[in-house]
């Protein structure tokens, strides 16, 4: 956890260093200016670890996708690459703050082996390692139904990679890593920020790639602990009536397993994407799964696309009222359909727009954030999210 804390403390100094980069280093960056409008005035559409968004908190939200990233890269030797990246974006407490998203040394070894030490981004999904580089994404943002199955993205540890050309058809990649991670979150629109600690993380992914196809399979396991006064109070109360149940449901050093399967077909004419994610956690969180399909057609610089996504949660049953509330608080089952388009304004600038219809299942309390007292959880709602973003890399 020490590394994670240091990386937080040094985010701002790092950003200043990136701006005044030493000679010999390469500085790159990315930026997105986004705006989102949500039709439901009684809840916010939020994403990743954001605790508020458009809807109840504000009519139009500029913080859902907007960010600025700066990256510094240098190669002190032919086989070593040092990379540091910091991103300014809204955090769980609704503040615009820089955070360190990459800080690593990558050692290139013979036989297409490489060893990365330091902070890297979640490598398990097709686009999780560039989820904040909106220019590199086919959508405005990755579908929350799948990429929201986990909230851990900054991995601090060691990762080994290997790639090999198989016959004359496919390139094989594999990653194996051990890591730890800390992630901030808030369940009360940013008033209190809690932390999720992931330890003993072990992950592995394999992928096969050719000019058009990518097929990727990944698996991860580890332990999760949350530090939340609100939850601690709930479990103290629960333990007074059922100590065994309290121990079983508490999110303290509990095992989790996480797996993803992704496939991508991409040509100069078409884009087809499919991803499925599954996560099991030995606590009141239970099991969550998500899947989406995206189909796009390229017309030179313009690519319209459609995405259909679904997520579902399975939690336990209990007659205990506190346990019932805990289970209900993490229930998130919803479907969405999106129609979007991406237009390449210049070599380094894209304009994207997306209309998304979101339909949470009745009882889904984790579909949105910042609920007002008028929100009816039992209604089968259909809400509309309209988003635009201007994305660049430099």
């Amino acid at each position: 956890m020490m590394l994670s804390m240091l990386l937080r403390i040094y985010a701002l100094p790092l950003m200043l260093c990136l701006v005044a980069s030493p000679v010999g280093a390469e500085v790159n960056g990315f930026a997105t200016l986004g705006a989102a409008w949500f039709s439901n005035p009684n809840a916010d559409f939020a994403y990743n670890n954001l605790s508020s968004g458009a809807g109840n908190s504000r009519t139009i939200d500029l913080g859902l996708d907007s960010n600025l990233g700066l990256q510094w890269t240098t190669k002190p030797a032919q086989s070593v690459r040092l990379t540091a990246q910091t991103v300014i974006a809204r955090d769980a407490s609704n503040n615009l703050v820089p955070s360190i998203t990459l800080a690593n040394a990558n050692f290139y070894l013979p036989n297409n082996l490489s060893l990365l030490v330091g902070r890297t981004q979640n490598p398990n999904f097709l686009y999780s390692d560039v989820r904040q580089v909106h220019f590199a994404l086919p959508w405005i943002r990755p579908p929350r139904e799948v990429y929201g199955v986990t909230s851990i993205f900054n991995y601090d540890g060691v990762q080994a990679s290997f790639q090999h050309v198989l016959s004359d058809q496919w390139v094989f990649h594999t990653n194996f890593g051990v890591a730890q991670a800390v992630s901030d979150y808030s369940r009360d629109a940013g008033d209190h920020v809690d932390q999720l600690h992931a330890d003993n993380m072990k992950y592995m992914s394999i992928s096969l790639q050719n000019a058009a196809w990518t097929v990727k399979l990944s698996y991860e396991q580890g332990n999760l602990t949350t530090q939340s006064q609100r939850l601690q109070d709930a479990f103290t109360l629960l333990s007074q009536s059922d100590a065994a149940l309290s121990d079983r449901l508490a999110l303290v050093n509990k095992d989790y397993q996480f797996a993803t399967l992704g496939a991508r077909y991409e040509s100069d004419d078409y884009l087809a994407l499919f991803e499925y994610a599954w996560r099991h956690l030995d606590a009141y969180f239970g099991e969550r799964s998500g899947a989406y399909v995206t189909l796009g057609k390229r017309f030179d610089k313009f690519m319209p696309y459609v995405t259909l996504a679904r997520t579902w949660t399975t939690v336990g049953n209990s007659s205990n009222s506190i346990a019932q509330q805990l289970y209900a608080s993490v229930t998130y089952s919803a479907s969405s359909a999106s129609l979007g388009g991406s237009y390449q304004l210049s070599d380094h600038v894209t304009l994207k727009g997306e209309l998304q219809v979101v339909a949470p299942d009745p009882g889904s309390r984790w579909a949105y954030e910042a609920y007002s007292t008028q929100y009816d959880y039992n209604t089968h709602a259909q809400d509309v999210l309209l988003s635009f973003s201007l994305n660049t890399v430099f």
Binding site: R81, N112, V130, V165, D168, R298, V393
Partner: protein, 153 residues
Amino acid sequence: MMLFYSRLLSLLVGILVVTSASANCWQVVVNQSTPVSHLSQLQVQAIYTQHYQVNGETPTLIDLADEALRTQFYQEVVGMSLNRWRAHWARLVFTGQGNPPAQLSIEQTLSAVQKTINTVAYIPFNKQVPSGVKVVYVYEGREGNAEQCLDVR
């Protein structure tokens, strides 16, 4: 009127020259000292899209500064449009896996390959390769027929 026709003729000749300067056949070249004698098209694709290693080291890549030629190389050999390639490289750059290739003229490209051992570049099919540079892959069009390759002046 004569001036108009003269300019129109110049324009047409210019278009023809531009057209004939566009190759559909390519040579992938490396420094003579690089201990690699042959690459497959998939390996070239992997080198230009995934930072695949050559002889145990990640190579320095060179792109042609001429956008028309670059577009054709990526379209024909790498199998992706420049728009797709830009998004792809943004991904490599911002995951800390590499930087986009430097963009040089054909002459500068050959000079850079001559000087640096671990450099991979591409040049049009019928460009003469100077000493110190060797060809490790030849792309002879989709039909694989060198006679159909366009002449590059």
